[in-house]
Symmetry: C2
Subunit: 282 residues, 2 copies
């Protein structure tokens, strides 16, 4: 209940949403977090609205059965395609509106948005930005290879630099002044994105602005840091196990991470949950 420390549920298609968890931990050190990465069915970014909605609802149901006080859809694709149709009891937020707000706050004339294919096709970022400031120009670019490059651990590789330059070329040629990172994996590529964009372009990251929004909302509802960070816990679940996910989780969180394997019933209507072995034993 408000006054005490909140339990925040966070889900993403994979481990990229841990960039939002990292932001939440910095801002709400007393909050406990339950994270669910739907690694058995990732990526969402190439899939249809129907499929993304079905998977997202199953993730919500899993977190709500564990009595979260608030819920964050830390996946841009799910935020863009499913958020409005999800059935959620707890107060909840996606990463799309906070990302759009941050882009509008930074932009002078022209925002570039990079995201997955599905997010770009939905047009949700363009719509959200235009709703906040109809004078801004918005250009979008789908970047399907960036998530696999992060998952391969090639963030600092020169090949990644060339692929990023290829994707950004049309946006930079059009003179964007702000680049919105419309996928939770992309903050891992901030270094190469900054080098390719140069100092004229401001990078905006929806993980950080989502953290700020959730902090403000929860503090406004009376939640506190309670007994402080020592009594806060972070528990990470994933629907599929594999060492690659654990490695990436550690890179994002900057600390050792244990992912617990869990079977989210696809019907999303109260199916059994089998808490299984940890990552790497499969």
């Amino acid at each position: 209940m408000p006054g005490a420390q909140p339990l925040i549920g966070v889900f993403d298609s994979g481990v990229g949403g841990l960039t939002v968890v990292a932001a939440l931990r910095r801002r709400l050190p007393g909050a406990s977090i339950l994270y669910l990465g739907d690694t058995a069915r990732l990526p969402y970014g190439t899939k249809s609205r129907r499929t993304v909605l079905r998977y997202s609802q199953a993730n919500v149901d899993f977190l709500e059965r564990r009595r979260v006080d608030a819920l964050v859809v830390a996946c841009n694709t799910a935020s863009a395609m499913a958020l409005d149709d999800l059935v959620v009891r707890a107060p909840h937020w996606g990463v799309l509106e906070p990302g759009a707000s941050a882009a509008v706050a930074s932009a002078r004339r022209h925002v570039g948005v990079i995201a997955t294919e599905s997010t770009v096709r939905s047009g949700a970022y363009e719509e959200a930005i235009r709703r906040l400031d109809p004078r801004l120009r918005v250009s979008q670019q789908a970047c399907p290879l960036l998530v696999p490059l992060v998952e391969e651990g090639w963030e600092e590789d020169e090949i990644t630099g060339r692929i990023v330059a290829r994707y950004l070329e049309p946006l930079l040629a059009e003179g964007i002044d702000t680049l919105l990172l419309g996928c939770t994996h992309y903050p891992m590529l901030r270094g190469v994105l900054e080098r390719v964009c140069g100092p004229e372009v401001t990078l905006v990251d929806s993980a950080e602005s989502t953290g700020a929004l959730v902090e403000q909302a929860l503090r406004g509802r009376g939640w506190t840091d309670g007994a402080g960070p020592e009594s806060a816990s972070v528990r990470l679940f994933a629907t599929d196990a594999g060492p690659r996910f654990a490695r990436l989780a550690e890179r994002i969180l900057g600390e050792p991470a244990t992912l617990e394997w869990i079977d989210v019933d696809e019907s999303g209507t109260g199916g059994t949950l089998r808490i299984g072995e940890e990552v790497g034993t499969s």
Copy 2:
């Protein structure tokens, strides 16, 4: 029944398995084919054995409910991780053994295998090749970026050439004389793979050798071309819809392709099937 034209069921995690369908159509022009691409849950190549087995069984059950006479697991990851544990009534084959046989037939001393992360981790190709010829040396290389590059349509891009060169460097340095393409997407990259490998290395493709094995087995069981190609049909199903899959299917088959959306019940035990709209309408 034998004597007539067979109905062959083929599944893959996505549309890469259509390389096997193309080989089957050349060799068995009278056969009808039901293809299922599990596009809602692809890729399999980063996932655990448990998850790949569960998804593969659901695909088998879908095809068997449609009374296929034979079944091909046209996915290297599923062949490597799940084939031995699948419950299948019809005669069935994976792509792993045919690929290994073709590599052994070509190799002089040293086979290089490129495949997804899960296939490499399973060690199944190395085992199958060594079982056929214990004197051969086998080196493996996981290539997680090659499937996304094919899906992006960058088969002939110079960036793809650099990534392929990076992956093959250790294999070429070790002096492989045969390269086994251990993923059904990789035949789409034959051009760049041949350029990087040079004329000293023979490329072996499991799609073609699987087509040969299935042809031999079915003709051996008395199946014929019946009334010929005119009466043969090819029907393509996918568990998720999206224009990218249809585009890629057309590139692989070399002819216009229509994917029908279909919901494979995840339990794989006789759930309802809802035949839905075609790709691109979701």
